[in-house]
Amino acid sequence: MISDTLFMMLFVGLFLSFIVLGFFIWGAKTGQFDDTSKMMDGLLFDSEEDLNDAVKKEKKISDAKNKFKSSK
């Protein structure tokens, strides 16, 4: 009985941590850890304004791409 509970806890824990590791690898692959010095100050750039900027940035990129495609 105890060993069953332990077994479940251990492997559910392992499963969850592998998911976290997966996210971490995704982050590293998309370049979020490329700039170690910038990463350390990330806390300073996490306000509402910065989030809005990030959305604007995405939008500008996709707009530009669409415009470019339609002009061709």
């Binding site: 060993s3 332990l6 077994f7 251990l10 492997f11 392992l14 941590s17 590791l21 971490f24 690898i25 590293a28 692959k29 370049g31 850890f33 490329d34 700039d35 170690t36 010095s37 910038k38 350390m40 100050d41 300073l44 750039f45 304004e49 900027d53 940035k57 500008k60 990129i61 530009a64 791409k65 470019f68 061709k72």
Partner: protein
């Protein structure tokens, strides 16, 4: 009272500030940037800045913006992205903190036509994607300049891309290994407690299973680089560290699989992942080092001028520097950098040759005098004739040499590594021998070991030899001592870029020193001061004249006069003329209409004004004349740092030879060498000669420490076994260096030598401890007296001893 500038946050005296309501600015540049940021609604930059300071904004006077729109520039530096946009790589100068990165990214992003602007804070490289139909390159550059930064284009090289890729790849591998090892260690707590309190077989089996799941990616994903490395080495009939790492790890892994499959004993999945993780972290640091060397080179290359103004039949053409041919006549405006070697054609001018000689004083040049690439024209507009192509010019040859030496920085043979290589081979051989002996001996004698076969027993004993001799303690011996040594050094104001330089420092036998900025303060000081008459009014005239110039000599004289004479008056002079690198002239008319002609400068300046004097000096001189009569003769000298003498004494006591290598004139070097009692000194040495000198020392099998600070030292620094740079040095020198002295003092350099020696001593002691430990335990393991449980426990014990021993480094000093 001093007040902080509202833009750059540097404190200045109250009087020099530009006041505006509640705001204070140190200069026009800072003021304009401040308002620009307010207009663009970017005032939050100052909140993000925290308590950091920026550099004062300097105004750009060059009109080189049009060059960026030239077709040849575009072809060289702009690439097309997959979506059809343009992509340029820039290096941004003047970035101090992440707020600067934020500001630049934001202001660029707000520009119409810019799709993406990404700036890397670590190496200041920017990647900008833009639409070339909507925005010109020149407007991007001018935007960056308008907020007080500057940008240089650089050609992103294949090696840079590869290094970035490798860095990312190793980072992920390392993180997977660290993640798994940490988790395995946590499971280990349960497992090892189980040894003492008893543990059910099925729970133990469960832990083994979890360890297997965690360990497998470490060995086969993170560790795959070791398998590749070992395979390549074996194909070339070599055995390297990689081979030992993966053979040790694989054997333990296979044995653990056998345990997992139902065999009796303990699994070693934890050791497998630990070994891989430790070695991988070391490899990652190596990759980081390579990447930073490439970043350094790109920074240096981006500073090379890209265009020159060519004069062809009275017409001015802007050409790419690669197109310049020998004999071409080129124009050099004020503030521009010469890009090829040549000779001056028309007019006189003064040049800043700091990049070559390391001297801050400008050099005056006349017609036919040689001009070196990288020197900056400080005087008026001049023309010069190219004598060499860009490829063969001084600047480019320095860049090429630097590239070679940084890419092939000689590998320091680390004794500990060499040692553990031999040791590991020996262990593998012993364990193989143990296995064979136990197996064949056991078979022929017909031994039985209860429920396990002879094969299994032999295998367990052989594995216990490997585990007990696990190079953990050995692998920890050096890094642990180095780590503690480095943190102790950091407290003394010394920044070691890599741990391996401790060993080199401790074993060095020659120290090559630059003069200006290293041994001396790089500030001139009045040494002799002789007046013909002690006339207070004349002194005030002299004071007023030196006050009008910012030349180092004038500044030193002003300071001296202010300190020595209390009742000096400032007199308004007329017609002040500055003869670059020579002196100043001015006129003064008093109320009685008496005219005084004032001249102040060096001997050649006096000669030009046909004034003769018997005064001669060994270093820099300054002579002040009133109405063609000599009033004051001054000798100025660069001031020695306070602790220079003590430092040289220390090096002598420790049998380290000292040599002065300076770009300054030989007389100045001689007087410093005499003061410090240094036998070997060289003056007028150019960067390549400096590097050759270091090379020749190394050919004599000497271990060389080079201490310098200028761009002119960069090449020599990269050739030395260990290079040390003062924090006040130029960026390029700091990038090339292995050790940075943060407080610029020679006392810290002495501390570096002492602590390195002490740390190295402890490294050797640690190695000895782990060796002694193995000498006792391995024979026990070979004869089968060590059960796997004890082997695993003692492995941790030996590591613990090494760690505790290393902590003793901090005890003294």
């Amino acid at each position: 009272m001093s007040i902080k500038c509202n833009h750059c946050q540097i404190a200045f005296e109250n009087e020099v500030m530009i006041k505006e309501n509640d705001l204070f600015f140190c200069c026009k540049g800072c003021q304009s940037v401040y308002y620009l940021l307010q207009d663009e609604d970017l005032g939050s930059f100052y909140n993000k800045l925290g308590n950091k300071t920026l550099a004062s904004v300097k105004k750009h006077e060059q009109n080189d913006l049009n060059n960026f729109d030239e077709e040849s520039f575009f072809k060289n530096y702009v690439k097309e992205t997959q979506d059809g946009f343009s992509h340029i790589d820039l290096i941004i100068e003047g970035i101090h903190c992440s707020a600067c990165v934020w500001l630049n990214e934001k202001i660029l992003f707000e520009l119409e036509g810019i799709i993406e602007a990404k700036i890397n804070f670590t190496n200041n490289k920017a990647k900008i994607i833009f639409d070339k139909d909507e925005i010109k390159l020149s407007s991007i550059i001018s935007k960056i300049r308008s907020i007080g930064y500057d940008a240089y284009a650089y050609d992103i090289s294949l090696s840079d891309e590869n290094a970035s890729e490798a860095k990312k790849d190793y980072f992920i591998r390392m993180m997977v290994a660290v993640f798994s090892s940490v988790n395995i260690m946590m499971l280990g707590v349960a497992k090892y407690t189980g040894f003492f309190t008893g543990i059910d077989d099925d729970i133990k089996h469960m832990i083994h299973l979890a360890e297997f799941i965690l360990c497998t990616p470490v060995l086969f994903y993170s560790g795959s680089i070791f398998f590749k490395g070992a395979y390549h080495a074996l194909r070339n009939k070599l055995i390297n560290m990689d081979f030992l790492v993966c053979s040790g790890a694989s054997l333990s892994y296979i044995y653990s699989l056998y345990i997992l499959g139902g065999g009796a004993g303990e699994s070693y999945f934890d050791s497998v992942s630990m070994i891989i993780t430790f070695v991988l972290v070391g490899k990652y640091l190596e990759v980081l080092g390579k990447k930073s060397a490439i970043d350094t080179l790109d920074t240096i290359k981006s500073k090379v001028p890209l265009f020159a103004t060519l004069i062809k039949a009275d017409e001015k053409v802007i050409v790419n520097i690669q197109e310049i041919k020998v004999g071409d006549v080129l124009e050099l405006k004020t503030g521009e950098q010469a890009c090829v070697d040549g000779e001056l054609l028309a007019y006189e001018s003064s040049f800043d040759e700091a990049a070559l000689s390391g001297e801050s004083l400008s050099v005056n040049k006349k017609e036919k005098d040689p001009i070196y690439s990288s020197s900056i024209n400080l005087g008026s507009l001049v023309q010069y004739k190219a004598l060499k192509t860009y490829e063969k010019s001084t600047l480019n040859s320095i860049v090429v040499l630097l590239e070679d030496s940084l890419n092939n920085k000689p590998k320091i043979e680390e004794k500990a590594n060499e040692f553990s290589k031999v040791f590991s081979l020996l262990i593998l051989a012993i364990s193989l021998l143990t296995f064979c002996t136990w197996y064949f001996f056991g078979l022929s004698m017909g031994f039985s070991y209860g429920d396990i076969s002879v094969f299994e027993k032999s295998f367990i004993v052989a594995i216990s030899v490997i585990v007990i001799a696990c190079p953990c303690a050995l692998a920890l011996a050096t890094p642990m001592a180095s780590l503690i040594g480095i943190s102790a050094l950091a407290k003394k104001g010394l920044l070691f870029k890599e741990a391996k330089y401790i060993e080199e420092m401790a074993k060095a036998d020659v120290m090559v020193l630059d003069k200006t900025g290293t041994l001396t303060k790089g500030l001139l000081r009045v040494k002799d001061f002789n007046l013909s008459t002690n006339n207070a009014f004349h002194l005030s005239l002299m004071y007023s004249l030196v006050d009008s110039s910012t030349h180092p000599i004038s500044k030193a004289l002003k300071k001296y006069l202010e300190e020595k004479y209390k009742n000096l008056e400032y007199i308004k002079l007329k017609n002040i003329k500055n003869f670059n690198g020579k002196g100043l002239s001015a006129f003064y008319e008093n109320t009685k209409k008496e005219r005084f002609e004032l001249l102040g400068g060096n001997l050649s300046f006096l000669k030009e004004h046909s004034i003769s004097t018997s005064f001669r000096s060994t270093s820099s001189e300054y002579i002040f004349c009133i109405n063609k009569e000599v009033f004051a003769c001054v000798t100025l000298e660069d001031e020695l740092k306070e602790d220079a003498k003590e430092f040289i004494l220390y090096t002598k006591k420790n049998n380290i030879d000292t040599v002065i290598l300076s770009g300054d004139n030989i007389n100045a070097v001689k007087s410093i060498a005499k003061d410090l009692d240094i036998k070997e000194f060289y003056g007028n040495v150019n960067p390549i000669e400096k590097a050759n000198y270091i090379k020749s020392l190394k050919e004599k099998n000497k271990r060389v420490i080079m201490v310098g600070d200028g761009v002119n030292d960069a090449l020599a620094l990269s050739y030395a076994n260990v290079s040390i740079v003062m924090k006040s040095g130029t960026d390029i020198a700091i990038l090339v260096s292995d050790i940075v002295i943060l407080n610029n003092s020679l006392k810290a350099l002495k501390e570096a030598l002492i602590l390195s020696k002490r740390t190295y001593y402890f490294i050797k002691q640690n190695l000895l401890i782990s060796l002694l430990y193995n000498m006792i335990t391995i024979p026990l393991a070979v004869f089968g007296f060590v059960i796997p449980l004890v082997a695993a426990l003692s492995m941790s014990l030996s590591s613990l001893i090494v760690v505790l021993n290393s902590l003793r480094i901090k005890n003294k000093g």
